[in-house]
Each structure stands twice: as C-alpha cells, then as structure tokens.
Amino acid sequence: MADVLDLRGLSCPLPVVETRKKILGSSPGGSFEVLVETGTSRDNVIRMAHNESCDVKVTTRETEAEEEYLLTITRK
C-alpha cells in the first residue's frame, strides 16, 4: 500500500525537498504517492524525481475549486 505525502500549500522548494527526502529514504522498487496542488510543484517534483531515477505517474484530480495532482513515484 502506497504512503501519501500531502504537500499541498507548501511553498517552493518544500515540495521538492520533502519528496526528495522520501525518495532517498526508500528502497529500489518502493513506491509512494505525493499530493500537490499547483502546476509548478507538480512540474518541479516530476523533474526532480526523474533526476533521481524514479518513474512518475500523474493523476489529475478535480476538486471543488481547482485541480490537484497525485504523483505516484517509484524508485527504480
């Protein structure tokens, strides 16, 4: 079962910093989910995850007012 890291509302660069900590603390093959709510955080986290040799799957969720992004990150 994947963990969910709720990073909504955190200002730059915290989404990247917190996600990277989680990546570096997980073992190859392990996966977890990250929730962000801006396109900037989404793009930055995806880029960092790819730099750290992870696969990223993006699911866009429509909420009442806006979109959120659930990123499933798997360490290769």
Binding site: G9, S11, T40
Partner: protein
C-alpha cells in the same frame, strides 16, 4: 496547438527560449528609453511606483512603471488560460511582508534586483559581479536554513476575490498611469530628471511586460530559484533560463551599442563592492526564505497567491523606507562619503532573516487542518 504548448515552456528548451526572450526584450526596453542596464528591474521599478504615489519623495525616482503592472497581469492571463489560477493565502503573511521589505532594502543598496544584476552584467558593468556573488551567498545561506527544516507553513485555497486583490491594485495603478489625475496632495509624482524620467513608451513597456509575465508564469522563471536549485538539488533547469537571459541581453546590447565595460561610470551603479556584495547577500537570503525572486513573486501574485502579493507590498513599503531613511545607495558620480543608514539596515535585515531561519522550523509550522 494550445494543448501541445501547454507543457512546452516548462521544459528545458522552453525555459531557455523564455530566458532568451526576456534578455532580448529587456535590452529593447533600454533602447526604447528605460535607464541604463535597467531594461527591467523589479526592485527599482517598484521603488519608482512607491515614489509616484508619494510614499517617498526622492525626486529622481518617481514613475508608475508599467512593467510591474504587466508582469502581474500577464501572469494572470496565463494562469486563467491554462487553468493555473490558484487563489491561496495563509503562509505567515507578516513574515513575507517583512522579507519583501528587507529584500528591497538590500537590493537598493546594490541598486538592483537579481534581474537587474544579470542585465548589468550583460551590459558590461563589473560591479554586478560582486552583486551576483552576494546573491549566490545569500541564497546559499537560505538553502542552509531550508535543509535545516525552515518553512513558513502551508497556504490554503481561498476565494478568487482575495487572490484578485494584487492584480486589481495593479490594474488601478495602470488607470492612474493612463489618466494621471492631479490631486491636491501633489500626487502623482513623475520625475523630470534622473532614472524616473527615463522610460519607454507606455504601450511598448506594457506590451512587452505582459508577454514576459505570460511566458515567465508558464515557464516558472525564477532568478533566485535558479541558484537555489543548483545548490540544493543540483538541478540546472532554472539556471539554464537565467544564462539564456544574460546571453540574449548581451547580444542585443552589443547590437544596440549598449555595452560599456568597466566598474566606474556605470549607469545607476556605484563601486563600493562591500555594499554591492552585502546588499545582495541580504536580498538573496530574503528571496530564498520567501520562496521566489521578486519577478517570481509578481508572477505568483498573478496566479492568485495572496502571500506573494503581500511580499510585493512589503517590497514597495521597503522601497519607501529605503529612501526616507537613507538606506538606499546613491549612484555614481554622487557617491557620498557617508552611506546613510544602508550598512546598518543590511545588518538589521540579515539579523531578521537569520532569526527566522533558525526559529521558523519544525513540524508545528507544517501542521495541517
């Protein structure tokens, strides 16, 4: 076409194109009448706006700069067009106000924000080297605090009426600039000499700024983030855009004859390298602690970020303070023997930022509802 373009500007070729475009357009703005090596300067231009509305009375630097207005409104247009309008607020606003305040104080000792530091470099101004070095050191100190757990807590989604406040203020400033009402108090002030009197045509400046605001929002362009990301996560993505900005400005300056190499005699600059360095250490640290360079704060304001909006207001008030309390530097050739309260203000600002860096930490600051 819109869908294919949607993600392009956030890619490496995308941000490089945006950086090149900004550099070229900044040089064009200078050619069109903006001050020397100041085609764009977020700090100087917010200071000029502060002067125009009477918050300070430094006569040579008073003008309602449409570039600041265009950055916010252009970013807002992009945010709506691509469904990135995100009204949000609530992440330690008074701290962000004071960070904007001190970022401006530091920038006005150097006589430029990070954007202008890059443009001064691209114009041959050697003093910018020390400014950029200070910026790097300031950002590095910020990274140290970020790695140590510094954070200002979460913002929350809010209503569009709140997120629209800064864009509406900017639109109001635009109306003032177009209609120039005369009030019994004497405002608005428009410089008749000095840098405030040097400006491109309103529509050229506004048009260029709207375009920059639009594409900078799409690409997440950030001059502070560019340095921070290399130090923090060894990511050169944003820095590639910044380097492209310098290249674009340099080439256009060469074409326009706007290249003048040296340290002495540079436009709106001084040669006190300790203050050039120290001012930008403070500015860099404040931008790092606030999560974005002054341009990025304007673009985020255009996305509906109320916390970025309060940072912008803090910068404008900081500019008023800087001139009223003599912390802003005076450019060559009028270097006074006395630097006013500038050095003291840098020390106070650094102390403020360092205290924040050590105290605003831990899970309690990150608590969620």
């Amino acid at each position: 076409m819109l869908k294919r373009l949607k993600g392009f500007f956030a890619t490496r070729p995308g941000i490089i194109s945006v950086g090149l475009g900004i550099g070229i357009l900044a040089s064009v703005l200078q050619k069109a009448g903006n001050p020397g090596n100041m085609g764009i300067c977020v700090a100087c231009f917010e200071r000029d706006i502060a002067g125009a509305v009477g918050l300070h009375r430094a006569a040579p630097v008073q003008y309602l700069r449409p570039e600041i207005i265009g950055f916010v409104l252009g970013a807002m247009i992009a945010a709506f067009a691509f469904k990135e309008w995100r009204p949000r607020v609530g992440s330690a606003p008074i701290i962000r106000f004071m960070l904007g305040f001190f970022a401006m104080v530091g920038a006005l000792v150097f006589l430029g924000c990070p954007w202008r530091a890059l443009l001064r470099l691209a114009g041959g101004d050697g003093n910018a080297i020390l400014g950029i070095a200070g910026l790097v050191v300031g950002v590095a100190i910020g990274v140290y605090f970020i790695k140590g757990g510094y954070n200002l807590g979460r913002s929350r989604p809010t209503r569009s009426s709140l997120g629209s406040i800064l864009p509406v203020i900017m639109f109001g400033l635009l109306l003032l600039l177009i209609f120039k009402p005369e009030l019994s108090s004497g405002v608005l002030f428009f410089s008749s000499e000095g840098p405030g009197s040097m400006h491109a045509n309103l529509f050229i400046a506004l048009g260029i700024a709207l375009a920059i605001g639009f594409f900078a929002q799409r690409s997440r362009f950030c001059t502070m983030g560019a340095i921070r990301d290399v130090i923090l996560v060894r990511d050169w993505h944003l820095l590639s855009g910044v380097i492209a900005l310098v290249v674009g400005a340099f080439v256009m300056n060469a074409i326009f004859g706007q290249l003048h190499w040296g340290f002495a005699g540079q436009p709106v600059a001084h040669t006190n390298q300790l203050l050039n360095f120290g001012g930008m250490v403070l500015a860099g640290l404040a931008f790092a602690l606030a999560g974005g360079c002054p341009g990025r704060q304007l673009f985020m304001s255009g996305e509906g970020d109320g916390d970025a909006g309060i940072f912008v207001i803090g910068m404008i008030i900081g500019a008023a303070f800087a001139h009223n309390f003599t912390t802003a530097a005076t450019p060559w050739p009028n270097n006074p023997a006395n630097w006013g309260w500038g050095p003291a203000a840098i020390i106070v600002g650094l102390a403020f930022c360092v205290i924040l860096g050590f105290t605003m930490r831990g899970k309690t600051v990150l608590a969620t509802a």
